[in-house]
Every structure is written in structure tokens, then in C-alpha cells.
Symmetry: C2
Subunit: 189 residues, 2 copies
């Protein structure tokens, strides 16, 4: 089977180079990207939402033009293993998820996905082999409409930039009179 | 000047391929990554926090092993143009930021960074040329300690997985008795 423009084995190499290790979740994610694409009207532009921060965003970044930094990829953490390709003006989208109900005959994927066994009792080769044999048969899709907060409002003006009177760094003035970090909301002690 | 293992021009090509367009912010981000690395003890492992979702995460993903999907890169949105490399056990880190106070003689960078002029009145070539000539001279650094919530607790057990009684999908059971999406916190209408 192919994943995006790659053979299964080539995609494994791409994962290793970008993600640092061969995470089974990115293999699943790559197949889910292909399913989402196949269900979109041809040539339509799309944005992507991942419902998990783990692994899935890297499959999207490897196989689509959508990245975290260009904001075409967004994360809405529900912890479900799912991604949605959607039209950023209308919100119409196709959601793809790894379907636990379809894993009855996939013991290695089940053990990994549902954490049925400790990691050290699992074998990467078995999991990958099952993913390869399962093809697109362990995923489900549904049509969804994405909430307005994830859409592009072409009339909305982007915030202006101000210098924070406290730290003197540039920040988005719609965050308030001082920057979030100086209000204690930054990541530092 | 070089950025990571690339010449300035090679890095521009890498940006185009990954991010889709030549965003000045990723050029700045690449230089900031190099400054952070140069200020870390040699060979020390690190995680990264970006304080802006715009562009900066893509510089980190292009130049370090840290990605959104492997969780070595995290975003803490304060909207300041800054990144921090830190030890994920101790929280000791080095923060690098594009310093507005050092842009007096950099009119093209100022116009872009502080949005002093509309985008269509700015010239990408002028901005890139100023970045190249400015080298590392327009950034500042400070030592920081990252909040415990960003650190790795080696004793902490990862949540188990449950099937949501409402949507029947797998989710992290520490989110509660039903999954966040079925509580109305998902990204769909």
C-alpha cells in the first residue's frame, strides 16, 4: 500500500527523519490523511484539525501543505484519534477516525491503541504489519461542520502590534494593556 | 550567514517547501534557534516552547528534532516573538526574542514586525536583506525557569484509554466519564 506519494516503507523513513522515532500513530495518521483527501471534492482547498496532539499532527505536516506555523493545521484536543479536513470558509468537513469497533481481529493494533498491554510487551513490527494488512479497513468517516471559531473570516482585521509597557516586547494589542506573560500567563516562573 | 546546517538561501528554499511561502518570521525563527543552541551546554537535550503560533513553530520543526507531534515542541501563546530551549527535567532554559528596541536602523523589519505599514506596501526582498545583514544583532536572550507543567515527570503514569459511552470512540479516561467532544468541547457544531 502507498501513503501519500510514498510507499509504506518510504513513509516509515520519512516518519523517522521528522518525528525522531517510528510512531505507529503516524502510520495510522498517514492513512487517515489519504482517506480524508479521497473524500474531498477534487482540488478543493482545505484546513485540517487534529483532535490529538500525539503523533497525528506530524502525519499531517509530512503529507499536506498544512503546518502548525502556517495555521492551516489546528489542534482541538479531545484525545480522540481523529482528523478533519474542512473548507475554511464554509466549515463543511470530512472527519476520519481510527475506529475501535473495527479492531476485533487486530490484536497488535488494539494493544497499542487502547493501551491493553505495557509498551515493552508490544512489538513495533507486529503493529506495523497489521496496519499494512488492514489498509483503510479500520477507519470510519463522518461529515461534520466545523465551529465558526475555526473558520477564516475574510473581513476580520488582524490585531495591531503594541509594545508591552512592562516587558517592552512586541505583542498583539488585542490581548489587553499588558502582554499575557506579564499578567502571569506565560510559561515561566 | 548560515542558518542551522543551511546557507541563508538554502534555508529560504526549505521554508518554501515546508511552510508554503517565504515567511520572514521563519527566517528570524531560524536565527533564534541558532542563538538558543549556542547558549545551551553542549550536547544537552532540550525541549522547546514557542510563544507565538505564527511561523515560529515551523522554524523549530525545520531545524531541530522537536515537532508538535512528538511533544518536544510546545506552544504557550503570549503573542511575543520568542522561543525558549529548556531542560525538560529541571526547567532551566534560555529564552531568545526578536528585540523591538534593536530595530531602530532596520526600517523594513520594523514595518513587518510591528505592522507599521500594510502588507502590500512591504517588500519581501528588503526584509530578507535586512535580516541577512542584521545577523544575530537584533535579538536578545535571557535565562528563564519554565513552569512545572511544561516539564517531564518521569514518575507520572500516562492516562489509560477508555471507550466513550456516547460516541464509542477511544479517548483518554482522565478527561472524565465521557469524552470532551461529547461534552460539547469538540470543534464541531
Amino acid at each position: 500500500m502507498n501513503i501519500g506519494p510514498y510507499s509504506f516503507e518510504e513513509f516509515i523513513e520519512k516518519i523517522k527523519a521528522f518525528h525522531g522515532s517510528i510512531a505507529p500513530g503516524i502510520v495510522a495518521g498517514g492513512i487517515m490523511v489519504d482517506i480524508a483527501r479521497a473524500n474531498l471534492p477534487e482540488g478543493e482547498f482545505f484546513d485540517v484539525i487534529c483532535e490529538s496532539q500525539h503523533c497525528l499532527p506530524d502525519a499531517v505536516q509530512l503529507l499536506t501543505p498544512c503546518t502548525i506555523g502556517n495555521r492551516w493545521l489546528k489542534i482541538a484536543e479531545t484525545s480522540r484519534y481523529s482528523l478533519t479536513f474542512y473548507n475554511k470558509y464554509t466549515g463543511a468537513g470530512i472527519r476520519v477516525y481510527l475506529d475501535a469497533a473495527k479492531l476485533t481481529d487486530r490484536p497488535a493494533i488494539r494493544a497499542w491503541f487502547l493501551k491493553e498491554r505495557p509498551k515493552k510487551e508490544q512489538t513495533l513490527e507486529l503493529i506495523l504489519d497489521e496496519f499494512k494488512r488492514a489498509g483503510t479497513g479500520i477507519y470510519s468517516t463522518e461529515k461534520v461542520t466545523v465551529k465558526p471559531s475555526y473558520l477564516t473570516d475574510s473581513k476580520k482585521k488582524r490585531s495591531s502590534i503594541a509594545l508591552c509597557p512592562s516587558c517592552e516586547e512586541a505583542y498583539r494589542s488585542d490581548f489587553g494593556k499588558i502582554c499575557p506573560a506579564c499578567r502571569g500567563e506565560g510559561p515561566y516562573l
